[in-house]
């Protein structure tokens, strides 16, 4: 549910991204994508296509694993047995989604061991929102509703992309996630229509989570790198701002329906353009957090490292003698 990998192209100009590629193969590749066909692992693909997909799918996989941590925190203290069961099921789904995504990424030639190493070393990124804490039960409700909602907007777009294994993984993920969103909404509605203390709790959680939610889709199109080629190759399916608009359009009315206050006095639908006006999110804060200085970066990686270390003996104990790794087929 957590897919919102950011595209980075190392500041390269668009036309240098495939300067050294075979022009005939490149033309065939682009024609296949333009015709709406999927690219499969055994197909020829430009180096930059492979590189960006590895980065994007790997980030998405790590986000599922790390994203399970702030929510998992609340399993032991979930109010009531039904919510505890639902939250356990949701967290299990997220970890399962990471497995699907790691496999999709492996088909591009990066092994699972390398990906885990890069996460633990802090070399690979994951979604910025998980560097914030889930302070109360209401935070876990807001995450399950609105962060999942944002991720679904992103994932539905990406499931129409060009790389077969990623699309297939995303279709399965989106199908499983429909319950996450409903479960999150149910929790938020329960609190928002409850006692004054419950209402206050959910309002405070929304206030805390609004800036990370606005950051979720990545930097504004005005300042983000050039992605024309990646859009032509159907690696990136919609611009950051377009996805943010789609999310606001779908969820701001639902939030206002509950009489909750979104902490942005400038947020309103512009009748002339049909788009939402809002205060520009602070992209300096976003950069700081993504580069390791958020409230929970150190904790998230430390917990993941501990889990990896403590589980190691189990994996070693059942290590197979056969050393013949082959990347998954599809």
């Amino acid at each position: 549910m957590y897919g919102n990998a950011y595209i980075e192209n190392d500041g390269k100009q668009t036309n240098s991204m495939f300067a050294d590629e075979d022009p005939i193969k490149l033309a065939e590749f682009e024609a296949r994508i333009a015709a709406g066909e999927k690219i499969e692992p055994q197909d020829w693909m430009p180096k930059e296509y492979r590189k960006q997909l590895i980065r994007m799918i790997e980030q998405h996989a790590h986000s599922e694993i790390i994203g399970a941590l702030p929510e998992g925190t609340w399993i032991t203290r979930a109010p009531g047995f039904r919510r505890k069961l639902a939250l356990m099921a949701k967290v299990q789904d997220e970890v399962g989604h990471a497995q699907l995504l790691y496999s999709a990424c492996e088909t591009l030639g990066k092994s699972r061991e390398q990906m885990v190493n890069d996460l633990i070393d802090g070399k690979s990124k994951y979604s910025n929102v998980f560097n914030y804490p889930a302070v109360t039960w209401a935070d876990s409700a807001v995450i399950a509703w609105l962060i999942d909602a944002g991720a679904i907007v992103n994932q539905i777009a990406n499931s129409k992309g060009s790389y077969g294994p990623y699309c297939r993984a995303l279709e399965r993920i989106c199908a499983e996630e429909s319950f996450h969103l409903k479960y999150g909404h149910d929790n938020v509605v329960f609190l928002a229509t409850g006692t004054p203390i419950q209402r206050q709790m959910v309002q405070e959680a929304l206030t805390r989570w609004w800036p990370p939610i606005m950051h979720f889709f990545g930097p504004s199109d005005k300042i983000s790198v050039h992605t024309e080629t990646l859009m032509k190759w159907k690696v990136k399916m919609a611009s950051n701002d377009d996805m943010r608009q789609q999310f606001l359009n779908m969820y701001v009315p639902k939030i206002w329906d509950l009489g909750l206050v979104i902490p942005d006095p400038n947020l309103k639908k512009n009748e002339a353009t049909g788009k939402w006006d809002y205060t520009e999110p602070d992209w300096e804060v976003f950069k700081q957090v993504i580069n390791g200085n958020g409230p929970c970066n150190a904790e998230r990686l430390a917990v993941r490292r501990m889990a990896e270390e403590k589980g190691r003996w189990v994996r070693r104990a059942i290590l197979s003698k056969e050393k013949k790794y082959v990347a998954p087929l599809a």
Binding site: V116, A298, S320, A330
Partner: protein
């Protein structure tokens, strides 16, 4: 520096924030198995994805967790990825054949006209 968290479980674990651990070696996550699910008796098994496992029994266990959490499955197959032999997309011309396949089409066998003509001829003779 010990990690301080809002999560009491993390605090109880007393995790050193600066601790380093060794890298995973290749093959620490074993090999991959391709997974095939049959959703109903009488239907074909379909490929749904892969799992990492040290042996077929563990592969079945992981596949069950991963691919049958929702809804129905009556039977699972796992096959070591390295044991699967495939065609190449590059060689897809091996599937090309003559586009004219009327001989495979039941509609292309029309006998009624001949039967009718035969009957008419014989009836007129009798």
């Amino acid at each position: 520096m010990t990690i301080h968290s809002l999560d009491p479980r993390v605090n109880r674990a007393e995790i050193d924030g600066e601790a380093k651990i060794g890298h995973l070696d290749e093959f620490d996550y074993w090999q991959t198995y391709e997974v095939f699910v049959q959703i109903k008796r009488g239907t074909h098994h379909s490929h749904v994805g892969s799992v990492h496992a040290p042996d077929p029994e563990m592969a079945i266990l992981f596949a069950k967790e991963q691919y049958t959490r929702r809804g129905v499955c009556v039977n699972l197959w796992v096959v070591k990825t390295s044991d699967i032999f495939t065609t190449e997309y590059n060689d897809s011309d091996i599937f090309e054949t003559t586009p004219e396949k009327y001989h495979r089409d039941p509609e292309s066998y029309k006998v009624m006209d001949r039967i009718k003509a035969y009957k008419e001829k014989h009836n007129s003779q009798s």
